[in-house]
Amino acid sequence: MQGMGAAAGTTLGLHYAAAAGAEPIRGEYRRWEDLMRNKWTWDRVSHGTHGTNCAGTCAFNVYVKDGIVWREEQQGMYAASGRDVPDYGPRGCNKGLRHAKYMYGPQRVLYPLKRTGPRGSGKWQRISWEQAADEIADRFLDLATTHGPQCVTYGSGTQMSIKLASSAALSRFANITGVTVPEFYSGVGDLPTGVFMTLGQVYTGDTLAAVFKARCVLVWMANPAVTRIPDAHFFWEARYNGSQVIAISPEFTPSAMHANLWINPKPGTDTALAMAIIHVILEEELYAAGYIREQTDLPFLVRLDSGEFLRGQHLSLVGKFAVEENVYYIWDEAGDRLVQAPGTGLADPPIGRDRRKFETLELGALRPALEGRWLIDTLDGKVECTTVFELLKRRAAGHSPERTAAITGLNPKLVRRLARTFATAQPAMIYTGYAACKWLHGDMLQRAMLLMLSLTGNIGVEGGGIQFGNAPKMRGLSAFAQADIGPATRMISSTTWDYDHANLKEENRRIYGDELAELFDERYQRSIREDWFPSYSDKGWKMAFFAGENALNWRASGNSWRREAFDRLETVVVLTPDMSVTARHADYVLPIAHHYERADIMLQSRIPYVQVLDAAVPPLGESVDDWEANRRLIAAIARRAKERRLAAIRDEVDGRSVRRDYARALDFYTMGGRIRSVRDVVQYIINTTPGLPKISFEELAARGIVRVDHSEGVMWDHEDAPYHDEIVRSVVHKKPYETFTGRQQFYIDHEWFLEFDEQLPAHREPLRMEGFPLQMLMGHARHGIHSMWRDDTLLVSLQRGEPDIYVNPDDAAARGVADGDLIRVFNTAGEFHALAHLSAGMQPGMVFMYHGWDPAMFRGGTNFSAVIPTGGLIKPTSMAGDYGHLGYRPLAYAPNQTYRDFTCDFEKASAGGAS
């Protein structure tokens, strides 16, 4: 980027002017007020949105003049999903409407930076892209050729994954280079593993308009008034329409204040509440018997001697030596006989989707018994069997509202009222947030929620279901990542990667004791040994790229992770539009284009539209989009490999031999030059992703949003729609589920589940830290999306000006703390400082903090992650494998990093205690 040359002498030479030169003066100038008389006009209005993981994909018009974005406004041209539901517009929120200002702020990274002082010292040198790319490429090649590329990671965060072309670019980079990709879905504790255990699928959500169809919606561990600002109206409109909107959360949330009813269990006791509701449903026979007979494993027979399902191999030698391990049985009341359950015994579980097309759950004349005991002839002799339903009743009996009242703190009458309201409303829905995944035993909460829904016939129906987000079928993205190469990517859960590299067993020992640390580690290591879950850790962790991820902000066991893993990395490269705590501690920071400076597309299942990001202006400074950044890196890798005459290396990924010829890496990346820019990537994805209208990027950019195919209703129920529809296929079209049992599977007879008594869901007390009485909860913030925009000056001014933490007034008084006091929040893991925000909406015994605050915004420079010691809490059953659908599945089944099972305390900060 050079100017027009020297401007010496009497010639008007200009360094910064447009090549076309100056235009004539616009009129006689008399005084500066005259400037203001000219009408402000726009050079162009482009369409865009904000590529963050709020799942909003709100269409914005972006106004540009003289190469600057001055303002944005909501595009607001959405239709509805049917005549009887409200439409999706307008969309937008306070964050998006600040972006035109924020993108020019001081936090912006404009040039490639190289660290010149110690990490975190703030001493930087601006360097050229070429220098940065070459130095990074050399470092990568040194490591890849001596240790193997798996010791280098490319971590991507929610900002990255949500933009499909950018995500595809990173995936292709990883596939070519062989770097390890620690995925964040489980890493941030968002993976609904309990949903996967039950349904064989984690992507189960509908559009948000489905909320309007629910007659009862439980807003459970969710806060849509804050986290789903463009969609929250569906909840309140449903209420106006006569639906019951019931908020369930320990704290009085901004959503709870709009609900018909607020239920406030003690923190971490939600599974006890769910089981109490199940108890009432069973006790009062409010269940949909026909539905559960057909769709679930509840009528399946279980051996009472071992707790295992009665299977084909138990009954005959033929069955014992058969390939199929998934022949299950029911007791047919119609014929009074033992019958193989329809839809079971498939040859290729659980992936045999094609085979399942020919199978059905339809019962025909069968009437599976839900209750009873039978003596069955087996190879072991006569064995008493019963149904899962019977076992569930027994399990639920221990969780009656009266028995759980002391656990949840809820009046049994209230719980019974809640259960009846939920069970008798048709349809009923549970709208839950990812907090349901952030407890150590969150999987059992999800299984219990699904039981509530299934027992009442509310899974796979309009206005029902568990509403985690759905996700696009990634065929287009995968096709792009693998085109001309094949699958050669190492993707792993951040949770297990961190466990391997951050000495988290010792953190467990220090916080939770020897017994837990040893038990969890023994099962973890056994799972890896058995190859149930992968590990790429044998070469250590030496270099890391972070893109769209602010890892030092959110990691659980933040202190340990920082000390034991991050600080030991030889090279850290951060690709980011904004300076963050992670970037501050990097060796290289590469500038990335912001939302209005790039092309891409976004798909979010909450609305039936594909949303464009168009480049309203060129990227600021020397920033580039992610595709281009990765192209420059891979071009340098190829160039340096050639210059260094490096031979191709032989790599092995998951047992497959892969030849990695880094000298040819650029050719691979660009598909031999066919992919020239991110627009080509977008077009590739449009052309190959099901359900996307096959239009050009230019047309999409001109329109901003375009309706996706097969989106007439509020559900994703079509095979050719862009989002997962497997659950509807099972419920409506009777196709077996992708679970071991082929049903909604509530009973898991894996030996570890039996050992830990988790074959059915049950309440488990959350882990606490002795001497620290306060449970700490967190949630997404109104004034930021994760750490993005959290430092915007206007948004900060709408809060308290610095991080604050909500505390109960009685708890505060007991500690001599007044509203607005600076307090020290602490436990044995660490401490941080924040302003006390006294609120009667907090229960005694808990504190609450909205997340995303950058450590640099805290006095003392440490944020909440210092007190969250849960990074190593990998529960044994979450590492179970060799059991039908259970076993490592990237982005579907992996252990979550959890964030809730700890306690803390606070005190008034001493003067000068945090500077």
Binding site: A17, R26, M36
Partner: protein
């Protein structure tokens, strides 16, 4: 011409420039000074400043003031890498934004209207920025180049001379003089006596003196006659 109709004659007379301006003698010389300061404050990452300053010295050495010449010579004698490192660490990069932003909007805390005001000046006088620089209309070097642009046209466009002259005074008063002295003080506190501290101190002095001189050449007959 887009000025308001009807009262143009009277309105034009709101401010006049006196004979003491001596445009033929001063405008091009001032243009050269502003151009030289623009090059001194340009990012060596974005502009080939050694080449630019070399050309400047070759053509203008005889007419530039000594203080400015000394700085230009010093820049020319400084190797490119040293210059880049010094410049970017002061003005362009930092974990919490640059220590002393070279951009008015950032330096002054994003006061509402700063960038709009700049764009309105540039648009009115036909100063169009190239695509890669358009995002930073508040950059000091760019503002100085704009002053060079105005002075140059004062010298060469006799038909619109008053406009070019008044534009300079207003632009300097509303922008450059408003923030450059503070920037100079900030840089002096960061790197006392450093090259860029001296550049900015010299520039601040020049700006204040030049604005004072400009003001001395401008009068408001209407106001003086009580008809304002």
């Amino acid at each position: 011409m887009s000025g308001p109709a009807g009262k143009e004659e009277a309105a034009t007379a709101l401010r006049v420039v006196g004979a003491g301006r001596e445009t033929e003698a001063t405008a091009m010389a001032r243009a050269r000074c502003y151009a030289a300061f623009s090059e001194l404050t340009a990012s060596p990452h974005d502009v080939e400043v050694h080449a630019a300053v070399g050309d400047r010295l070759e053509s203008d050495r005889e007419v530039l003031p000594d203080a400015l010449l000394a700085l230009l010579d010093e820049l020319l004698a400084t190797d490119d890498e040293t210059l880049k490192l010094g410049y970017s660490s002061l003005f362009e990069v930092g974990s919490e934004g640059p220590p002393a932003s070279i951009r008015e909007d950032l330096f002054s805390g994003s006061k509402a209207g700063t960038r709009e005001d700049l764009i309105r000046f540039y648009d009115f006088f036909g100063y169009r920025l190239g695509e890669h620089f358009a995002w930073a209309p508040d950059h000091l070097s760019l503002q100085l180049e704009f002053m060079h642009f105005l002075c140059y046209h004062e010298a060469s466009d006799a038909g619109q001379r008053l406009s070019w002259q008044l534009g300079q005074a207003d632009f300097a008063a509303r922008h450059l003089v408003n923030w450059v002295p503070s920037l100079a003080a900030r840089v002096e506190s960061l790197e006392p006596g450093g090259f860029y501290a001296r550049v900015l101190a010299t520039l601040a002095d020049f700006l204040l003196a030049d604005l004072g001189w400009q003001d001395s050449t401008i009068s408001s007959p209407a106001e003086e006659s009580g008809d304002g």
